[in-house]
C-alpha cells in the first residue's frame, strides 16, 4: 500500500467515524428545542423531563463528536499538506469561521443548557437549548461550505505561487452547491435523530417500561421522521441530484452504473456492477426514469461513462454505485415505514401496534448507514479530483509523511475508536435502560452535575 491510498483510508475512516456523532446531535438538538418549546407552551413537565433525558444522550454524543472532530481539522495539515498549502486561502476561511462562530457558541451554551437549568429561568434555559441548536447547525454549514468548494469550486482565483485565494467572500458562502448539500445533509441528520428517538420510544413500549415517555418519543420521532424523510427525497435529494448531474456528469453516470450514453436512460433498482465488462449483472431497471429525474423529460439523453476520458472516471466505481444505491434504497424504506407509522399515529393505534413498533426499533441503525452511504456517494463521486477540476487527489497528500507512519497512526485510530465505541455502547445502554422516569434530576431541587454529561 502506498502513502496516497493510506492517507485516503486514514481520512475516510476518521471522518466516517466522526460523522456518526454529529449526524445525531444536530438533528437531536432540533428535537430537544421542540420538546422544550412544547414544555414552555403547554407547561407539561413531561416534555422537560424528556428533553433532560435526551440531553444526556446528546451530551455523550456531542463529546465524542468533539474529540473525534479535532483530528479532522488537524488531518488537513498532517496527511494532506499539499492540498492545505494550495487551498488554505479558500477553505481555511470556512474552517476558521466554524471555530470562531460555531464552536464557541455551541460549547458555551451547551454548558449552560446542561448545568444551568437551576440557575436559569425557564425561558433562558429554552434559549440556551436553542443556541446549542443554532451553534451545531452553523457548524454543519461551514463544514458543508468547505466540502462544497471541493465539489464545486467557486469564487476563487489562482495566485502566482500556485495557491488559491478567495475572490468573493459571499460567493464562497453562497455557493449554490453548498446550500443544496446543506439542506440535504441537515434533513439526513434529522432523519437519524427522529429514528433514534422513535426507536427508543418503540423499545419502551415493547418493553412495557416508561410507557408514558415511550409514547411521547414515538410521537415526536414519527412526526419529525415523516417530515424529514419526505424532504430528504423531495425537494432536497432531487435538487441535489440534478446539481450533481449538471456539474459532475461523470459522477452521476457512475452512481447509476450507466456506461453507454442513452436516451430514456433507466434507473436500476438493484443489480451488481461489473466494471470489467462495463455492464450491470441481474439488473432490475425502470426505463426512462433517470432521464426524467435529471431533465424532466423521459426522452432526454444521459451521458454514459464511455463518453468521458478514462482519467476522469470516478476511481472506485463499484463502491460509488453501491453507496448511492444503498442510500436511495434505504431512503425509500424510511419513507414507507414513516408513512405507515404516521397513519397509525393519526388513527391513534400506533402505541399498541407491535408489528410497526418492531420495525421502528430495528431500523434505528439504518439512517446512520444511509447518511454514511450518502457521503460516500458525494466524496467517491468527486474522485479522481480532490478539488473538482482543479487538483487531483494524487497531488494533495503530504509528500514527506511515509506510508509506514500513516499506517501506524491509522492503526492507532482504529484501536482508539474501537475503545470509544465500546464505551459509547456501555454508557448509552445505561442511559436508555435507566430511562427518563428514574431521573433524580427531575424537579426543581436537582443537584448540580459535575460536567457536561452528568445531567
Amino acid at each position: 500500500m502506498n502513502a496516497l491510498i493510506l492517507d485516503r483510508i486514514h481520512f475516510a475512516f476518521t471522518v466516517t467515524y466522526h460523522y456518526l456523532f454529529p449526524q445525531l446531535t444536530m438533528g437531536l438538538a432540533l428535537l430537544m428545542v421542540i420538546m422544550k418549546l412544547i414544555a414552555l407552551r403547554t407547561g407539561d413537565e413531561r416534555w422537560n423531563q424528556a428533553a433532560r433525558f435526551w440531553a444526556k444522550i446528546f451530551a455523550i454524543n456531542f463529546l465524542l463528536g468533539v474529540v473525534t472532530g479535532i483530528p479532522m481539522e488537524f488531518q488537513f495539515g498532517t496527511n494532506w499538506s499539499e492540498f492545505s498549502r494550495r487551498t488554505g486561502g479558500v477553505i481555511g476561511q470556512p474552517l476558521a469561521m466554524e471555530g470562531v462562530f460555531a464552536f464557541f457558541l455551541e460549547s458555551t451554551f451547551l454548558g449552560m443548557f446542561l448545568f444551568g437549568e437551576k440557575r436559569l429561568s425557564k425561558l433562558a434555559h429554552f434559549g440556551a437549548a436553542f443556541m446549542v441548536f443554532v451553534g451545531s447547525w452553523i457548524s454543519g454549514f461551514f463544514i458543508i461550505v468547505t466540502d462544497a468548494w471541493m465539489q464545486h469550486p467557486v469564487a476563487y482565483h489562482l495566485l502566482p505561487n500556485g495557491t488559491y485565494e478567495v475572490s468573493s467572500f459571499w460567493g464562497l458562502l453562497l455557493n449554490p452547491w453548498a446550500w443544496l448539500q446543506y439542506a440535504h445533509n441537515m434533513c439526513g441528520s434529522v432523519v437519524t435523530a427522529s429514528f433514534v428517538v422513535a426507536a427508543t420510544g418503540a423499545f419502551y413500549l415493547l418493553e412495557k417500561k416508561h410507557e408514558d415517555f415511550g409514547r411521547l418519543f414515538v410521537k415526536i420521532g414519527v412526526i419529525a421522521g415523516l417530515i424529514s424523510c419526505i424532504a430528504q427525497i423531495f425537494p432536497t435529494g432531487d435538487m441535489h441530484g440534478r446539481a450533481v448531474a449538471r456539474y459532475q456528469p461523470a459522477a452521476i453516470a457512475g452512481m447509476e452504473g450507466l456506461f453507454r450514453t442513452e436516451k430514456g436512460a433507466p434507473v436500476v433498482l438493484i443489480g451488481q456492477l461489473d466494471d470489467q465488462a462495463q455492464k450491470i449483472d441481474n439488473p432490475v431497471p425502470i426505463n426512462d426514469v433517470l432521464s426524467f429525474l435529471i431533465y424532466g423529460t423521459t426522452s432526454a439523453e444521459v451521458k454514459g461513462l464511455n463518453d468521458f476520458p478514462r482519467d476522469q472516471w470516478p476511481s472506485a466505481l463499484p463502491l460509488l454505485y453501491y453507496s448511492y444505491h444503498i442510500m436511495a434504497g434505504l431512503g425509500t424504506w424510511f419513507l414507507l415505514l414513516m408513512t405507515a407509522a404516521a397513519v397509525l399515529l393519526w388513527r391513534g393505534r400506533i402505541y399498541a401496534s407491535r408489528w410497526i413498533l418492531w420495525p421502528i426499533l430495528l431500523s434505528f441503525p439504518l439512517p446512520y448507514v444511509a447518511n454514511t452511504a450518502g457521503w460516500m456517494t458525494a466524496e467517491i463521486g468527486r474522485q479522481p479530483w480532490l478539488v473538482y477540476g482543479l487538483i487531483r487527489t494524487s497531488e494533495g497528500f503530504s509528500p514527506h509523511v511515509s506510508a509506514g507512519n500513516t499506517l501506524f497512526t491509522l492503526l492507532g485510530f482504529l484501536g482508539m475508536y474501537a475503545v470509544l465505541s465500546i464505551l459509547w455502547v456501555v454508557v448509552v445502554y445505561r442511559f436508555i435502560s435507566t430511562g427518563p422516569d428514574a431521573d433524580p434530576a427531575a424537579g426543581p431541587v436537582q443537584p448540580e452535575p459535575a460536567t457536561l454529561t452528568a445531567v
Binding site: 488554505g88 469561521m97 464505551l423
Partner: protein, 347 residues
C-alpha cells in the same frame, strides 16, 4: 496585514494556553490533591462547564492559522506528524475521561478514568511545551519548505534533531510545571476547604520549581538560538517582556501568600502570556525557523494567504471574536464562585 494576523494567531494560542492551561493543570495535580471521591468530583466539577470551551481556542486558533498562513500550517502539521497524532489521541483520552468517569458507579471504572485524566493531562502539557521549543529551535526545512521529524534521534540540538532533544525536553518540563502551578492557583480560587489549602501549598511548592525551570529555559534558549535576541537588541524596550515575566512570578508567590487567589491566578495567566510573547518576539518575523539555513525559514511574508482573503477575514474575525468573548464571559460569570461537595449527585 501579515503583522496583524501574526498577532491574531498568537493571541488565540495564548488564550488557549491560559484557558485550557488551568484545566490541564488540574489534571496534572488531580492524583496528588484529591484524596477521596468527593474531592475528585469537586476537582473535576471546577473545570466541568468550561474545559470544552477552553479547548475550542485550540481549534479556532488552528483554523485561523490554516486560513492565514496555509504554508506554515501545511509544513508544520505534516512535519510534526507523529507528535501531533499523539496529541490528538491524548485529547481524545482526556475528554473522554472527564466526561465518562461518573457514568458508572464502580471504583474500578472511576479509577481507570482518573488515571487516564492524569496521564493525558501531563503528557499534553509536556508535548505542548516541547512543540513550542521545537518552533524556537527550528526544524530542518527542505527546499520545498517541508520537513519530517522523528520523535527523537540522538537527543542533541544538531542538524538532524528529533522532536525531543535536551532543549525541547526543557520546554516540556517548563510547560508541565507552569501549567501545574496554573492549575493549582485555579483550584485555590474554585475549591473549598481542605482542597483549597492543599492547592495553596502545592502552588507554593511548585512556584520554586517554576522559578528554577524558567531561569534555566532563558539561557538555554539564547544558547541554541542566539538570534532570538536580535529583536530585543533592535528595540530595547522589549526587554520589558522578560522583566514582566519575573514580575508575574513574584506576583504569583506574594499574592498567594497574601491570600489573594484571583490576583495570584491572574499573575499566572500573565506569566504564561509574557512567556509566549517573549518567544514570539524572539522569532518574529520567522514563524518556523529553519535549523539549516535562515534562507529557508518559513516567515510571515512567504506563508501568508492572499490579500483579499485576509482583508475579508479581518472583518468576520473581529465580529466573531466579540461574540465569542460575550459568551465566554457570560459563562464564567454564570458558574462563578466555589464549587461545592454535594452528596447524591449523579443520576
Amino acid at each position: 496585514m501579515g503583522f496583524v494576523w501574526f498577532w491574531i494567531v498568537a493571541v488565540m494560542i495564548a488564550a488557549y494556553v491560559v484557558l485550557d492551561g488551568f484545566d490541564l493543570g488540574v489534571g496534572i495535580l488531580s492524583p496528588f490533591l484529591a484524596r477521596v471521591e468527593d474531592e475528585r468530583r469537586m476537582l473535576i466539577r471546577s473545570i466541568g462547564p468550561v474545559w470544552d470551551g477552553n479547548e475550542v481556542w485550540l481549534l479556532a486558533g488552528g483554523g485561523t492559522l490554516y486560513f492565514a498562513f496555509p504554508l506554515l500550517y501545511a509544513s508544520s502539521f505534516s512535519g510534526f506528524y507523529l507528535p501531533l497524532m499523539i496529541v490528538l489521541w491524548l485529547l481524545i483520552m482526556r475528554g473522554v475521561s472527564v466526561e465518562l468517569r461518573m457514568h458508572i458507579d464502580h471504583n474500578v471504572w472511576r479509577s481507570f478514568f482518573d488515571g487516564m485524566f492524569f496521564v493525558a493531562s501531563a503528557l499534553l502539557a509536556i508535548f505542548f511545551g516541547a512543540a513550542l521549543a521545537n518552533v524556537i529551535r527550528g526544524v530542518p526545512l527542505g527546499a520545498d519548505s517541508y520537513f519530517f521529524l522523528p520523535l527523537w534521534t540522538n537527543w542533541r540540538v544538531g542538524p538532524n534533531p528529533g522532536i525531543l532533544d535536551w532543549y525541547t525536553v526543557i520546554g516540556g518540563v517548563v510547560a508541565l510545571v507552569a501549567l501545574a502551578t496554573h492549575g493549582a492557583l485555579w483550584l485555590v480560587l474554585k475549591a473549598p476547604g481542605e482542597l483549597e489549602n492543599r492547592a495553596r501549598r502545592a502552588a507554593s511548592t511548585l512556584w520554586v520549581a517554576l522559578l528554577l525551570v524558567t531561569l534555566i529555559s532563558l539561557p538555554a534558549t539564547i544558547a541554541i538560538r542566539p538570534s532570538a535576541l536580535d529583536n530585543y537588541e533592535a528595540h530595547r524596550i522589549l526587554y520589558l517582556i522578560p522583566a514582566l515575566v519575573v514580575a508575574t512570578l513574584v506576583g504569583i508567590l506574594s499574592f498567594t501568600r497574601q491570600r489573594k487567589p484571583l490576583a495570584a491566578f491572574l499573575s499566572s495567566c500573565f506569566y504564561l502570556v509574557f512567556m509566549l510573547v517573549g518567544a514570539a518576539v524572539g522569532l518574529y518575523p520567522a514563524l518556523l525557523p529553519s535549523s539549516t539555513s535562515p534562507a529557508r525559514d518559513i516567515t510571515i511574508a512567504n506563508s501568508l494567504a492572499g490579500p483579499h482573503s485576509l482583508r475579508v477575514g479581518l472583518i468576520w474575525w473581529s465580529f466573531g471574536l466579540i461574540l465569542a468573548l460575550v459568551y465566554i464571559i457570560t459563562s464564567y460569570w454564570l458558574f462563578r464562585g466555589k464549587v461545592t461537595a454535594e452528596a447524591g449527585y449523579g443520576h
